[in-house]
């Protein structure tokens, strides 16, 4: 099969914004807005693989004890074809591959609207209720509010940031009481695997800073599995809160292990593994991660959130402005010349001597 990783390999990863639903005293992985507005964020881990035009987004919601309910909104680059229970060991296996010393530590991925947001899909996985929504920032925000999500004050701007590029969101609500009834213990995670056909995968990062103040540190591990070494924008050079910890061909053993997990048959025979460590304060994360694994080496500024949809490339915009200015100038001079030429004629013809 394996014309392994056919086209633009890339991946999308994490970006999970957890918000409280109703009065939510529970702790959780990911960011949680408590009743007093405080936010706790633990490290999140996510795998985003891109193969055959489909993005596979695997994350986990960890039961961290307590009761009540909490939830999250995750921006997606497209409409998923499936949302299902993820494999049991994929994320752990990736951590073991890149951090072999830290065995046994599995930090869950947090995933981090009147009902005019369109509900595209509803799925229940264990104690998680997942809803795929389509709508603008206003619609999704009102939908979330109407369904008990308490959005932090920066949510309107952040939702706008995402909705202007892709109006698809995954809302997840986690019932900690139900989790406890199911026998889930503290630290047990519920993995979720989302499959999204898209030509333009990207990794939402700015959402990780949602609800955070300037001094809070956001930590996340983003694994990318792509057909070949990806070009990334912004480059994770360590100065922008992102650091490229691993960039190497994935070992056959790792790929075999991943492929044997539930729903991981899509994993190709060969792939490039990248691990990006996010350790940033909130103002640093004003962008997403654009990925181009096609070999062209040209990740999109739009996908990175550095340009707004409809905005012209600065150089192109400048050229167009010059052309418009030139057009007005030529038109104005032409108009004046026309008037100058017509006046004598009209004067002679219409004005009595």
């Amino acid at each position: 099969m394996t014309r392994s990783i056919g086209r633009t390999g890339a991946a999308l990863a994490t970006g999970l914004l957890l918000v409280a639903i109703g009065a939510a005293p529970a702790l959780a992985c990911g960011g949680l807005i408590g009743p007093n507005g405080a936010v706790n964020l633990l490290r999140t881990t996510t795998l985003a693989g891109y193969h055959g035009g489909e993005e596979h987004y695997i994350t986990s919601f960890e039961f961290a004890g307590g009761g009540g309910a909490f939830g999250s909104l995750t921006p997606l680059p497209g409409v998923p074809t499936s949302v299902e229970k993820g494999g049991d060991w994929t994320l752990q296996r990736l951590r073991n591959e890149t951090e072999p010393v830290a065995q046994g530590v599995f930090a869950a991925a947090g995933a981090a609207s009147r009902d005019s947001a369109e509900v595209l899909m509803e799925v229940t996985i264990d104690a998680l209720d997942l809803t795929v929504l389509r709508g603008g920032a206003q619609e999704v925000g009102v939908w979330a509010t109407d369904h008990g999500f308490r959005l932090p004050p920066d949510a309107p701007e952040v939702l706008d940031f995402y909705a202007s590029r892709s109006p698809i969101f995954l809302a997840a609500s986690f019932d900690a009481d139900a989790a406890a009834e199911r026998g889930q213990g503290v630290g047990d995670g519920t993995p979720v695997h989302i499959t999204i056909p898209t030509d333009n995968p990207w990794v939402p990062l700015r959402i990780l800073a949602l609800g955070k103040t300037g001094n809070e540190v956001i930590e996340a591990d983003v694994y990318l599995m792509t057909d070949r070494a990806p070009a990334l924008l912004p480059a994770p050079d360590g100065t922008n809160g992102m650091r490229l910890d691993v960039s190497a061909p994935a070992s056959d053993l790792l790929l075999d292990d991943l492929r044997s997990d539930r729903g991981m048959g899509w994993v190709p025979e060969s792939a490039w593994l990248s691990k990006i460590r996010i350790e940033a304060n909130a103002p640093q994360l004003g962008f997403d991660l654009a990925i181009d694994a096609s070999g062209a080496g040209a990740p999109s500024r739009l996908a990175a959130g550095l340009d707004l949809p409809g905005a012209l490339d600065p150089t192109i915009g400048s050229t167009i402005r010059w052309l418009i200015g030139l057009g007005f100038t030529v038109g104005g001079i032409g108009g004046i010349l026309l008037l100058v030429r017509r006046r004598p004629f009209e004067g002679n013809g219409m004005t009595p001597a």
Binding site: S113, A137, T145, D154, L159
Partner: protein
């Protein structure tokens, strides 16, 4: 038809425009005259920020504050002294509206409240929903004696 035939029509059109402009000017001046219209101030809340950080209102005159929430989340507008804001920081009232100095504005909606300020000086207006004040939803309302 030659041009001189059209001249009366053009004169009438120009006269009509001039008359309309004149009437509009008179109406505007009348509406803006002191004592004839209630002063109002409009504040828009967007991206969890007030459209103006400083508003001026006249002393001793009913002022209507129009609060337009352009966000998909609820906001509040509460004006008062330091003591009242301290109470609201730890308060538990989920909805405001009983007092004219306190208003809850649901997502995407507009509310208005009319207040007569009886003391000149500065007061602070704040959204006291969790995290909103720290995010910057704060402004100053300056009460100035009429005529200043």
């Amino acid at each position: 038809m030659n041009r001189s035939d059209r001249r009366p029509g053009r004169l009438a059109l120009a006269g009509g425009i001039a008359l309309a402009l004149g009437l509009a000017g008179i109406a505007g001046a009348w509406v803006g005259a002191p004592g004839l219209a209630r002063p109002s101030v409009e504040l828009t809340m967007r991206y969890s920020s007030f459209s103006s950080g400083l508003i001026e209102v006249p002393l001793g005159v009913p002022v209507t504050i129009v609060l337009r929430n352009a966000d998909p989340i609820e906001h509040e507008w509460i004006v008062g002294d330091a003591a009242s804001h301290q109470r609201h920081r730890t308060g538990t009232e989920p909805i405001h509206g009983a007092r004219p100095t306190e208003a809850s504005v649901p997502a995407g909606q507009t509310r208005s409240t009319t207040i007569t300020f009886t003391t000149a000086g500065d007061q602070v207006f704040v959204c006291h929903l969790p995290g909103h004040e720290a995010y910057g939803m704060v402004g100053t309302l300056r009460v100035v004696p009429a005529g200043e």
